[in-house]
Symmetry: C2
Subunit: 285 residues, 2 copies
């Protein structure tokens, strides 16, 4: 791998996340030699315009990964399950944004500020977590390393961007329907999301949590290296376009003053999230 100039593939390049990946690669001056944009057969052949350049979308098939150094996958779990091993076989290191590989014991699940060490000895696929986990893990890490985590409760306020471009269009359409007095049309979500709160993100699992909630529970446990961590979650979709919020309640093992907790949090979270300053007393009355 020539680190001065990498061939980077983005799988799912036409999606909201894929397009943001490309934008961030540009913003950060990531040393991209060749940028290979890939998507399902349906989108292949389309073009996207990036910084004035027009790039064609190629079809995401195994041979498309020939010569690719890093493949960023964000085209859903099915595509990742099928294509990531093929990309690895063709020599790429896969960074997978889907849920396909996250809980595989042989795949590191990494938030760069928290557990970069887990990257050692990866076998070609590196997973990154669910969006709600990603922004929470650095905050929890700071407490884990200083005062210990006894129990964590997370309630989310998740934006529609997390579902994808179709959902953003659905919210926009419902807003316009509201203004023009038409009925709101829903197909992405089971109910209107405009001016509503939906405590049902993804399907319900037999344990009573939704799949989204269980991701937050199990992915945080894995990233933090605390498989027994007592953590619970209610995940709620709200009518916000972009940016997830979370209300997080933590019981620590050792006492911690609000001031110290805030200092630790700001340090841990500096590059990942912005916390509302909290000077709250502990739970006891």
């Amino acid at each position: 791998m020539n680190r001065d100039s990498l061939t980077v593939a983005v799988v799912g390049a036409t999606g909201v996340v894929g397009r943001t990946m490309i934008q961030v690669l540009n913003e950060r001056d990531f040393p991209v030699g060749e940028l290979r944009l890939l998507a399902s057969g349906r989108s292949a052949g389309q073009t996207v315009s990036i910084d004035g350049r027009t790039l064609e979308i190629g079809e995401a098939v195994p041979s498309a990964f020939d010569g690719v150094d890093v493949a960023l996958f964000s085209a859903g779990a099915d595509v990742s399950r099928e294509l990531a091993p093929a990309a690895v076989a063709h020599g790429a290191t896969v960074i997978d944004n889907s849920a396909a590989w996250r809980m595989d014991p042989s795949v590191p699940l990494v938030v760069s500020q928290v557990n970069a060490d887990d990257l050692e000895g990866h076998a070609g696929i590196i997973a990154n977590p669910n969006c709600s986990t990603m922004q929470l893990a650095p905050v929890l890490m700071a407490l884990r390393d200083s005062v210990g985590l006894e129990r964590v409760i997370v309630d989310t306020y998740q934006s529609v961007s997390g579902t994808g471009a179709d959902a953003l269009a659905e919210l926009e359409g419902q807003i316009r329907a509201h203004v023009s007095g038409e009925p709101k049309q829903s197909s992405v979500y089971p109910h209107p999301i405009a001016f509503n709160a939906l405590p049902e993100i993804d399907v319900f699992l037999p344990n009573g949590y939704t799949k989204e909630e269980w991701k937050i529970v199990s992915e945080n446990r894995k990233i933090l290296g605390l498989p027994e961590l007592r953590i619970s979650c209610t995940a709620v979709r709200i009518p916000v376009f972009v940016s997830h919020s979370e209300a997080v309640h933590v019981e620590t093992r050792e006492p911690v003053t609000p001031e110290r907790a805030r200092r630790l949090q700001n340090r841990g979270a500096s590059s990942a999230t912005k916390s509302r300053p909290s000077t709250r007393s502990p739970l006891s009355p």
Copy 2:
């Protein structure tokens, strides 16, 4: 007090809550003989139309309570603080929807399904709690009486209706601004509420909680008769027009199966709120 036909005053009759009170009195065939609608001097003289009848708004002054049996107050804490004792002196029983009297030890704070017994021996003023407390107390009561409450964490998803008519108009205006591509104007809230989540309801107190959050903590303790209850809260305003939601996490004193918790909840909450069925395992992994 002639229970066959009561003279009922509604103070704050032009507000969102006042108008809903009048509507509910009608819907429930409450035995209203005379309905006296009162408001501040600014609104006095206006008329409102109810079921085809046009009623004039009188000015909320002490003498307006002559002959009133029940006075429903919803015109803010300042009005209640000033006028409720005067209404009592004129012979009325005040049911106060503001925060003015809730935490006064001589005033019962009542949710009818939970602590109607506390009405005994009231001295003229009866307080009802904050909207977020009102819908939560019956659920907590059911657990308190069966398995005991060890700890409660509540995160709210509160609608704009709780702030009042100005806020509903502000949300509507911001939605229309979004559609027409104009900047969003905010004056009721410190930031746009449309397509946003505001974790700041009312002012911050020295203890780090907002006033709204502290109401939920202290009012639940009083209504449930558990002054030492370990309860914490994050209160968040979201862009929903009407109806508050809450994510509630309870640690019980005795073990309880999800099925039993659900049965107890549905019994306790039947007339107050509708819970999402939950079959979740307890927090321990």
